[in-house]
């Protein structure tokens, strides 16, 4: 049996099918994954992501410390209330984790790290923190609820109390600390909404109030198809410790300027950049019937690659996109590939083509179909 989030009983009551995720018992769906996906695209849904871990970085050197350990530059969010997506790299330029950092107070930053990597991340942060006047502290007994969808912000009014006006005024990628809560206008679905970090003891009441306001609970299954359609990377799939952000479609998150900023992984990334990237991350749309799956080989249309390992392309995430009504995927392929490709599905090569992603953003399909 895995660890339980503060909302475990709520999931059981709602009829969730629970699965193991990084040692936690998490809801994969509450009935129909596709219906949940559609609810987020069309109205509002909420995700229990309490398995993710908020970590507070505080102190006089907090900014300098994060400028060193993160590949994106927190100098971009010097104004309190801003948030930034970034990778945390090892010295080889590989990705230890990807995370959002919220600037909540003058010398206070909160980062939210992935469940599967949380212990590793904390060990890494602590090992680097000794040279800085900074504390790195887990927010113990926390819960995280993400509310996403075109109606998500409006329906969140029910739980915002006195902070309602201030929170509703948050622009995208802005955040606010309110008492023990922090609220960011961020997410992982391609839709508008908030991610709320709050004490575990308040999680159930908040979840129930959101449900009463018409927000539907959404499982991790739909979370995956939503993020895939939104073209958002998932740690362990699009990137890991052996892949750089440059080969993961995340070059835009690496701040090489200013050149004087010394961040972990910089030397390795500069070498990789100067050598020219061999691979890139692309979107795939399947033209045939079937579903693209993670790990499938990709080859250029017309190639005769027999051994699947030698094609040069590989699917990093694949599923059926309920909004685009096609099978879609993300794949790492040689940089010069464009247009028609073939994907190996259950031992047969099937026609697909490369597209730029996101596939869907704010409820709208962004790729040409047919």
């Amino acid at each position: 049996m895995g660890k339980h989030t503060p909302l475990h009983d709520e999931h059981k009551t709602a009829g969730a099918k629970l699965v193991d995720f990084a040692g936690w018992d998490m809801p994969i769906n509450y009935g129909s994954q596709i219906a949940e996906h559609n609810a987020v695209r069309e109205s509002a849904g909420m995700f229990d992501v309490s398995h993710m871990r908020p970590v507070d970085v505080e102190g006089a050197d907090a900014r300098d410390f994060l400028r060193h350990v993160l590949a994106n530059d927190v100098a971009k969010i010097d104004t309190v209330g801003r948030a930034l997506y970034t990778c945390m790299l090892n010295t080889r330029g590989g990705v230890i984790d990807d995370l959002i950092v919220y600037h909540l107070g003058e010398t206070w930053y909160r980062i939210v790290v992935n469940a599967a990597t949380a212990d590793k991340d904390l060990g890494w942060l602590h090992s680097l923190a000794s040279d800085y006047e900074v504390t790195v502290t887990e927010f113990e007994d926390s819960s995280i609820i993400a509310v996403q969808g075109p109606e998500a912000r409006e329906k969140c009014r029910a739980v915002l109390g006195a902070a309602e006006d201030e929170v509703m005024d948050l622009a995208p990628f802005r955040a606010l600390a309110v008492g023990n809560w922090s609220i960011g206008r961020t997410g992982y679905t391609g839709e508008d909404g908030f991610e709320i970090v709050l004490p575990a003891a308040e999680a159930v009441d908040t979840w129930q109030a959101l449900a009463a306001a018409g927000v539907q609970p959404i499982g991790l299954g739909a979370r995956d198809t939503l993020r895939l359609e939104a073209g958002l990377n998932l740690y362990g799939h699009e990137m890991d410790e052996d892949v750089t952000p440059l080969a993961s479609g995340l070059g835009w998150t690496v701040a090489f300027e200013p050149a004087a900023r010394d961040f972990v992984g910089r030397d390795a990334l500069e070498m990789a950049r100067d050598a020219g990237n061999a691979h890139k991350l692309v979107g795939l749309v399947l033209d045939a019937r079937g579903v693209i799956r993670e790990g499938a080989a990709v080859r250029r249309a017309g190639d005769e690659a027999g051994a699947e390992e030698s094609t040069g392309g590989e699917v990093t995430s694949g599923s059926f996109g309920p909004t685009v009504q096609r099978s879609i995927g993300l794949a790492r392929v040689p940089v010069d590939w464009e247009g028609a490709v073939e994907v190996s599905l259950r031992g047969k090569w099937r026609a697909a083509h490369i597209v730029s992603y996101p596939f869907v953003r704010h409820g709208k399909i962004r790729i040409a179909l047919d």
Binding site: K17, S32, Q33, I34, G221, R289, G290, V291, S319, F320
Partner: protein, 131 residues
Amino acid sequence: MSEIPKDLSYTKTHEWVSNDGDGTITIGITEYAQGSLGDLVFVELPEAGSKFAAGDAVAVVESVKAASDIYAPVEGEIVEINEDLEESPERVNEDPFGQGWLFKMSIVDPEHLADLLDAEAYGEIVEAEQD
């Protein structure tokens, strides 16, 4: 506990079999199977007239999560497929024992049906998998 109708026969691989009494059988997947797979997005069915031995892979049901082979429960020939599933694979999720049937076969020997599981034996398999 998922529904397991008493009047059907079952396989270890989660197909249900209905003896139609005229030398044909109807095959589908169980309530438990559709729940484990999650929302179906494609169903690939065989052509009428094709012949299979017991245990042959006959069809594929593919969900958001995974693809799964459907096996011939006994030896026979496909006589009819559920063409509605081409457009509406979700029928299998909504009504696995009814409108979500997959295909019908004419069987070689009715005696073969005795090899299938009854509802009680199948229930034990489901219970074991859930633990």
